[in-house]
Symmetry: C2
Subunit: 282 residues, 2 copies
């Protein structure tokens, strides 16, 4: 082919190739396909080099890989959620090692090293707050987030989204759940949200929930939620010096009520001893 | 763990999950990690749903997958460039099926169907304008573009970038190469660029180059590049009714010179017959 020799004004030296990391600063506005180009200001042969940036490329790539995942195309790993020995079979989700390892540091050592998961192509994900493992819709939403960076969070799924974000080291999603819960905080959920915040080390959320509990302690202890709290949190509240109540009887009744919910387990904790500070203040 | 039961104000019904396509409109400005959220205005249980968009996610994902590729991590396909029977061994590039198939429609049928390439995990890419196949640096740049949407184009690599963009159906990159060449067009390269534009169906570029050639035909035929053109293009120029020259001798000498460059092959073409219109105008 004669045009093989057609080479317009060839310059010496190789072109600069993109480095190993994302480009510094904004990578385009992702708003269209028209692309952008920036003339290279470098000296010599590179002065006529232009960088072509296709702004929508990465987003489109991610959504198409997510669509491949939904169709089971080119998948090379299975995530198995739940499925302990005496439970229902685990929820299996097929995915791409490359995407999972790029989305979070959680998977990288499991998939690239000599771990059994890497050889078997299967990662068992046991021990969830819900005995059968997280809800399939929520699993799909969180795995989809690892591909696309987008997820819908609702009061109905936020706990499981937070649990998975924490486990899979999805820090930004975890922080978003914290902010989401902060906005939803009210008297009827502040005890539950405080527990979650504690469990997942969301310190700002824990502080805000604790503040609400302290200011409204008398009302909070009317709520059944309070009596589901584990021992260490009940102990913390009863030892909290910033809480004031009208009478000791109220507190005594609270402790009795907490013990009665699960007397076999709870009486041994001697929660009455934590009333000391109320009986003998100072 | 008691907090397993802590569920703030659970609403009925599953949360809406993201659809199969990219989000409509701008997907964020990619400028940071702070994320964005949009409250769902839907009725009922979805009213409290918020969409979390992590703007930098897709860009970071793409660059990390490109970095995995450079390190050979999780790769499941080999692209072999060049390497005909009598040539040097082909240039082999390892990559991820999922990314290639998401980046362009070229690979999808090869990799997902029952083709030999899908089973062998190897795609042979033969027949390039340069006998040994494209330059390794340019191959790396174009494969990197499939991952990240960014590439540096220079006068030195634009021909091969264009050739690969055309072959791999990277339409936006191909269009960019056309625009790049349009800006570089001058008297010393307009013949070569016109050939390229013809070969890769870049009609706007071909028109602009042809216009420059027509307006400067006498100067263009002084340039050696003109005598590398294949027969069909020489024929087209000599038959072009919009070209005017001062004397028929010039054209006759041009044809002789073109034939002399490769007399065995070219004399049989009888290029003199295309001079007819000059000798008998109208």
């Amino acid at each position: 082919m004669a045009a093989a020799s057609a080479s317009p004004q060839t310059l010496p030296g190789p072109p600069p190739s993109p480095g190993p990391g994302p480009p510094p600063g904004p990578a385009g506005d992702d708003s269209g396909a028209e692309g952008g180009a920036a003339a290279d200001g470098g000296a010599g042969g590179e002065a006529e080099t232009e960088e072509f940036v296709c702004p929508a490329h990465c987003t489109e790539l991610a959504w198409r890989q997510n669509e491949q995942r939904r169709q089971g195309l080119y998948c090379d790993i299975t995530l198995a959620f739940g499925g302990g020995a005496r439970q229902a079979p685990p929820l299996e989700v097929r995915a791409h090692r490359s995407v999972l390892a790029a989305a979070t540091d959680y998977f990288e050592p499991l998939l690239s090293g000599g771990f059994a998961e890497s050889r078997s192509g299967r990662v068992e994900l046991r021990k969830w707050s819900s005995e059968g493992g997280p809800d399939p819709e929520t699993v799909e939403a969180v795995v989809g987030f690892m591909y696309t960076g987008i997820i819908c969070v609702s009061p109905g799924n936020v706990h499981e989204v937070l649990e998975m974000a924490d486990r899979f080291l999805l820090t930004r999603l975890k922080d978003f759940c914290g902010e989401f819960l902060k906005k939803k905080l009210n008297l009827s959920n502040c005890v539950a949200i405080h527990s979650l915040a504690h469990m997942y080390s969301l310190s700002q959320l824990a502080l805000k929930a604790a503040d609400m509990i302290r200011r409204n302690f008398f009302r909070v202890i009317q709520d059944e939620e309070f009596y589901t709290l584990p021992f260490h949190l009940i102990r913390d509240w009863l030892s909290d010096l910033e809480i004031t109540v009208d009478s000791e009887e109220v507190l005594f009744e609270t402790i009795l009520k907490w013990v009665q919910r699960s007397p076999d387990e709870r009486e041994s904790r001697q929660p009455r001893s934590y009333l000391k500070r109320w009986v003998h203040p100072g």
